[in-house]
Symmetry: C2
């Protein structure tokens, strides 16, 4: 029992842990999970850690029909000194509550959520891999569980945290990815749910991703849904460009996710004195910069891949090769610094990491 009365039931049958060399992304889960219920009138109750196990839900549960759900994604790392670090977890729980607002899901106590996560990680401490590039991926999520087929907010929810030891998200690792600009499909539009981390945004993205995959692109770059001109973000990453010495990224506009890696990158660049700005960026502007030889680097930012260099950007039947298809200098420095801070190898001036004790 902890301050928040988190009940802990340990498993009787521990699973075998995967070899570091066999780690994939998000396919293997640890021995335990955290779960907490919400019931209207009673609020959030019964926080508990239990053996990792299936959920048992009425087939009429709203999550199966009306998609009322939110989630988060963050990582824990174990350092050379055997410390366990979480990267800015308070930001994730803050964003989870923002997503809750948009999806009409009751707020969580962010402190309790963090405490729950820490307790769970302590219980499954042995599962955190320590080879380079590996980490423990953390997936907090909330689902609506009222068995009711009317379209209205659920009166019951479950908040769950599961953990998965992972290698890099992209098979390519830090190797540059090829990304295609999406012209037909739209991920989100202002007034929609794009700035929330909710399932429907990802379901909406599958088709475009599948089509671009058949053409050899690993992700799509979304344009805005209104004018189909302005750059939004990539599948599960925000996007940055370095143009003529300045790093630019689309501003927060209501339809893109406010990435925590994005925020950290902006703070790092400012700290380093590298010009950085958030503004509307049209795809035409990027093409012009490319034609003028001024498109120096491009990279995506997100928890899963941390920093993902873009080696080629495809638009209007033409591939723009960026930095000769190689990882740019600023991109590399950001990757090294961020993963360094996250894994305790680089000093954490910003106090971004929280130790799990």
């Amino acid at each position: 029992m902890t301050k928040y009365n988190i009940d802990v039931t340990l498993t009787q049958t521990k699973k075998e842990k995967p070899n570091a060399s066999e780690l994939a992304f998000g396919k293997v889960f640890t021995d335990h999970m955290f779960i907490m219920d919400y019931t209207e009138g009673q609020g959030w109750h019964d926080p508990r850690i239990i053996p990792y196990q299936p959920l048992t839900l009425d087939p009429a549960s709203m999550i199966f029909h009306y998609g009322q759900s939110v989630f988060e994604g963050l990582k824990a790392y174990v350092t050379k000194k055997e410390q366990v670090l979480l990267f800015r977890p308070d930001e994730n729980f803050k964003r989870l509550n923002k997503s809750n607002d948009r999806l009409c899901i009751p707020h969580l106590d962010e402190e309790l959520a963090l405490e729950a996560l820490k307790t769970l990680i302590q219980v499954d401490r042995d599962w955190i891999p320590n080879a380079e590039g590996t980490s423990l991926y953390i997936r907090p999520f909330i689902i609506s569980t009222e068995p009711y087929l009317g379209v209205s907010p659920s009166d019951r929810y479950q908040f769950i945290i599961i953990l998965s030891p992972v290698a890099s998200y992209y098979k390519e690792g830090i190797a540059p990815v090829r990304i295609a600009v999406e012209n037909e499909f739209v991920r989100s539009v202002a007034g929609g749910t794009g700035s929330a981390k909710t399932g429907g945004n990802y379901a909406a993205s599958l088709k475009a991703q599948q089509l671009s995959g058949t053409k050899g692109y690993s992700q799509v770059l979304w344009l805005d849904g209104v004018e189909r001109k302005y750059i939004e973000e990539v599948g599960s990453m925000n996007i940055f460009f370095k143009v003529d010495g300045e790093v630019i990224t689309p501003s927060i506009n209501g339809s893109i996710l406010e990435g925590i890696t994005r925020k950290s990158v902006i703070e790092l660049l400012k700290h380093w004195g590298i010009p950085v700005s958030e503004r509307k960026i049209s795809i035409a502007e990027i093409k012009e910069a490319y034609a003028a030889g001024k498109l120096e680097e491009a990279f995506g930012t997100g928890t899963a891949a941390v920093i993902s260099p873009v080696g080629e950007l495809f638009w209007q039947n033409e591939g723009m090769s960026i930095n000769g298809g190689k990882t740019g200098e600023v991109t590399k420095k950001l990757y090294d610094t961020l993963t360094g801070i996250q894994s305790g190898m680089v000093e954490d001036h910003f106090n971004w990491c929280i130790e799990v004790k």
Copy 2:
């Protein structure tokens, strides 16, 4: 066993059926459900009817995270002659496959789905209520069940059908509803998922509906996400207006659902020789018609409510009272005819109903 080898396991413990007077919408479910699995490589397999029971799913199942899901809604009626009728079920399964396309879910055999539904209804025949306005609401749905946290189409799915005896969807019954035009939130945009029946569209709609509910409106009228000028549809209904003798409804544009009731209404109106057209309709045009005294009727169309008269439309701080807040003549005739055909009281010239034998 049937032609499609649908295995049937009957329940040992039948539930008590609700009184006709106590029926709500979508809260009570019958004794059995249909379920069928999809596994990559193997296709859809093991169609079976089993006692209504909870689903047991890994917490990493994609449905809980990325919202890859589709659903349908239709109704069965029992006639005075004890026939059981389904209203245009082939259209629902056709639309389910269209939704599947958009959501990257493998197609279903529509004939098998219909056979499954008929078999299930036969098994739970006793559950179809027969009081006026009541019916058996049918909810076919598909969920993605692969336990994997990567954003990509699932390699496993379940197709499920559950049944719920229902009264009218709206507490008001055929009484006119008050609807507010939504100016801030957007349901969908061309290139998005609006024309598919997938959970995310409904999750996205909750916030606007909740806010309008606090102001006394039961539903919102969505405008297009690009110009915020053109009328789209209501929460779970398409919308029609009668202006100066002509019935008009927004055309299918990629962001609204192609309703089966909508289609039937258009066919009925044509049959009756009442002018009807599908076209872009701006909210300003409706307001002008109202000001000129030409906005004669308005109604929503959808399986749940069938025909729902709109008594008041609220836009820009002003309520437009339609037909003095009473059900219009064409609206009433459509309601009577459609519910009449569905329940076997009015002759089915169009062969819309299929009997379950």
